[in-house]
């Protein structure tokens, strides 16, 4: 709207501009008449009580205006800046002079169009418009209230850093920068969302991450056209390869150390403003089963825990299905005394095993959901109710059998051993079709189901990386950080499946290059000394 005639006549002067999104303001220049600008802004932000336009005069009596959003700025510091302009500094009315000479503000940007100006102002900057200038300044004096850095609740550790990301993207990137103090850490900035204009930062390690991967990630994000991005889940959903798979192909973490470690492996991190969850791509299935603590603990313990997790992953996936299959089709597989106990417990149960397991599993899922959603004070009541009603009373009333309660609780506990919540969700969902397969076809059905699942997982790709790598396709060298966790001295190379450029991680070329350079320098010095002796 109005873009075509912007060259001849500034469209904002006519007063014909409707309220619109920032994208549509791209290339709309700032008028040199202050009144035109103020009129336009007042029209745009009519009925916006938090948008402030503060007219003032520079010390040399030139009209100017400061625009900001109340609550996003740090009032004291904006006052300081205005004081400088209004009281202290007597000089030019030219914007570049104000920027370079007059204003003692560290973060200051000169903008030409309204998109840039309003982008800054709506993010918390303070805009300065000066009569007779076709440019404006944005002062990065932000002061919105944010949550303080806390221990991440979703990924608690016993050993390891206890800081977690918060909702402010700059704080988050700073936390990453603190971990990786190198110019190689790059952070590309992008903005997504017509209404939300969410800041997104794509972070990667230059020289480690595959540049094609970085390009692919940036391209996929910049192609997103959406109203608003309220959480990184929007981005995840829009950039992943197979939206309809239950398996998450993008991992998230709220731990700076996990993100830093992922970058060091050659992955790319996507920070989204407004959420503490940082996305990591490409993601493999095994990443979901690894906790950051694995790398901090002694390797024997970490290996044991990993194996335990794999075991319990299998348990949480197949136990209910296996119970149904074995008790309804393959009774010969159960030891006689156990079978008699099961039969005794099931004697009064009116439902077939599959109905019984469904009652219990659904009840358990409901309990779990209730436990998460309810306020903490009510949570305890829910857990007592759940334990009493679903556990004991249901058994005593003869609705479900005691072995079934055991099966369901083992399954529940097992699903909690998966360190990353969204992988656990996939397992929780897949359990149900497996139960039906078991009820229809017994163990044969379970095997068919598992084959379909494994086949599906093998066909998944996350940004070009096979979901099951390094197990399928097999790359033997990477297995020492998959099935087990080798001691750090053995993990010399970064994972190869990501196509990293600089594969060595420790004892690397840098050290040997350094030593070689020192040697060469010494030799040269000696040669020169010899020459000068001659």
């Amino acid at each position: 709207m109005g873009k075509s005639n912007s060259q001849q006549e500034n469209p904002i002067t006519g007063g014909s501009f409707d309220v619109c999104d920032l994208v549509e303001l791209e290339g709309i220049p700032i008028a040199s008449e202050l009144n035109d600008n103020i009129g336009f802004l007042e029209q745009m932000f009519s009925e916006s009580s938090d948008f402030v336009i503060r007219r003032f005069q520079l010390k040399n009596s030139v009209n100017a205006a400061a625009i900001f959003v109340d609550g996003l700025i740090s009032t004291n510091e904006v006052n300081e800046a205005l004081k400088t302009l209004m009281v202290l500094e007597d000089g030019s009315d030219r914007i570049e002079v104000i920027e370079e000479v007059l204003l003692p503000v560290s973060q200051i940007t000169r903008v030409q169009d309204y998109k840039g100006l309003l982008q800054g102002v709506l993010s918390g900057d303070t805009g300065i418009l000066v009569e007779g200038n076709q440019e404006a300044l944005t002062l990065g004096i932000r002061g919105a209230d944010t949550r303080s850095v806390n221990e991440p609740e979703g990924e608690a550790v016993v050993r390891g850093p206890r800081e977690g990301f918060i909702e402010n993207i700059r704080t988050n990137t700073s936390m990453l920068r603190r971990k990786l103090k190198t110019p190689r850490l790059k952070m590309k900035s992008l903005i997504v969302g017509r209404k939300s204009n969410t800041n997104i930062v794509v972070a990667f390690l230059d020289g480690v991450a595959n540049p094609q991967l970085v390009d692919e990630v940036t391209q996929r994000i910049s192609q997103i056209e959406i109203d608003a991005v309220l959480e990184s889940g929007y981005i995840e959903s829009l950039i992943q390869d197979s939206e309809y798979s239950p398996f998450p192909q993008v991992m998230y973490s709220e731990r700076p150390d996990t993100v830093a470690a992922a970058l060091l492996e050659g992955r790319v991190a996507i920070f989204v403003d407004g959420t503490p969850m940082v996305l990591l791509v490409p993601t493999t299935f095994w990443m979901m089963l690894q906790a950051s603590e694995d790398y901090y603990e002694r390797f024997q313990m970490a290996t044991f825990l990993r194996l335990l997790r794999y075991l319990f992953l299998a348990i949480s996936l197949v136990t209910p299905a296996l119970y149904v299959a074995v008790t309804t089709y393959h009774q010969q597989m159960i030891p006689t005394t156990l079978l008699l106990s099961i039969a005794a417990a099931r004697e009064a149960i009116p439902f077939p095993a599959i109905v019984e397991v469904l009652i219990m599993e659904v009840a358990f899922e409901a309990l779990r959901e209730a436990g998460i959603r309810l306020p903490k004070t009510v949570g305890q009541a829910v857990s007592i109710l759940g334990a009493l009603v679903v556990g004991q009373a249901a058994v005593q009333a003869g609705i479900v059998s005691a072995p079934m309660v055991i099966v369901v609780s083992i399954t529940g506990i097992a699903s909690f051993t998966v360190p990353h919540f969204n992988a656990a969700i996939a397992i929780r969902l897949i359990r149900f079709p497996l139960m039906f397969a078991a009820a229809f076809l017994g163990i044969y059905g379970i095997l068919v189901g598992l084959l379909i699942i494994v086949g599906h997982m093998a066909s998944l790709r996350s940004f070009g990386v096979p979901y099951l790598s390094p197990l399928a396709p097999m790359s033997v060298g990477d297995l020492k950080d998959t099935l087990i966790r080798a001691p750090w001295s053995e993990m010399e190379h970064r994972p190869t499946s990501l196509g990293v450029k600089n594969a060595r991680r420790i004892n690397g070329e840098f050290v040997s290059n350094y030593h070689r350079a020192v040697k060469v320098a010494q030799e040269r010095k000696e040669k020169e000394r010899g020459r000068s002796d001659e």
């Binding site: 008790t327 309804t328 009774q331 099961i342 009064a348 017994g442």
Partner: protein
Amino acid sequence: MNNRGKWRGLTRLWICVASTSVLLSGCWDRREVNDIAFIIAMSVDKEEDGKYRLGVQVPLVGSMGAFSGGGGGTSGTKNYYVDSAVGKTLREAQAILQSRMARIHYFAHYRVVVIGGGLAKSGISKPFDIITRFPENRLTSFVVMTEGKGIELLEAQPQLERFSGEALRELVKAFTIPVSIKDVAQMISTPGIDMFVPVFKPADTQPKGNRKEVEAMGLAAFRGDKLVKVYKRSDAAGIRWFQRYFTPLSLVVPIEKGWISAEFLKGHASVKPVMKQGRIHFDIHLYSSVFMPENMSQLDFNNYKAINELEKRLSEEVTNKVTFILNESKKHRMDPTGLGAAFAKRYPKLWENKYKKNWRKELSHITFRIHSKVEVTNIGQITNSLMKEGQ
């Protein structure tokens, strides 16, 4: 778009094929555990009119304690019951039984098959056909014999186990030579070895209680599939040395004006057949390892010679036991120790051509020599009885 349409068609076809195949499959063998009658033990008897009687022992799971709500209507203290039926074949008998049981018979969990004395005498191979043929059956279940009616053993009500079938299984494993259905089949079908099974009988506790226990009585030796003779526990001991796995036994030996209990923990026989002037001779070496838990004799174990004497006495005893069994097999022309199989291993051609067919006849002409070696490895915590006066 075109490509996608083609795939969609294929997918539909596949879904159709897959779903019909599920519906078409006739084998819909879903059985809930509470629709099944688990048969814990069964007995096979031969009736006087030549028909077979099949007895089954079924646990009443509803009355077995555990965590059940109401339900499971049973009365009395018994938590199993025994029923039997007669038929020309075992399957017929089973069908009759099934027609008065509300739950489907499930044969994959029986622990023992009890052979009645009458059946054993007339030959067991006919009823064993279904036992080995029917896929639900377990070849690892044990076979025992009783001299009376097999079903009497099922009706016994042991105190320690919930069912007599379970008690039989535990006893077979612990105190007799365990013989499974698979072993029976192998022993019947292998020439050069004859089958034997442990013998049990229902016994009263003393003083007499209101329940009957099952007691291991000894061993029944067969020729082919027919019973020849039942041996007492101590008489049949010699067979144990010839088994692949020696099952421990204890013997009481008279020595030095008293008795000594000897617990044979390990035992092994190596049988070496030799052809001597056209006759078959067996050199049998027996090794045993013994723990002495009780000394009621005058032997003084402070003196190491006492151990030598005991070992000597024990090896005589072992020789006697084995000799008894071998003489019995010569006498009755049966081969429970598997001498024929040992001979066949050593002289395969000779066996095939000459002895395989009339091995039983040949058995009465064989000679053997027994070399027994016994090691007393453990005489307990004390050397001399604490009760004895110091000398």
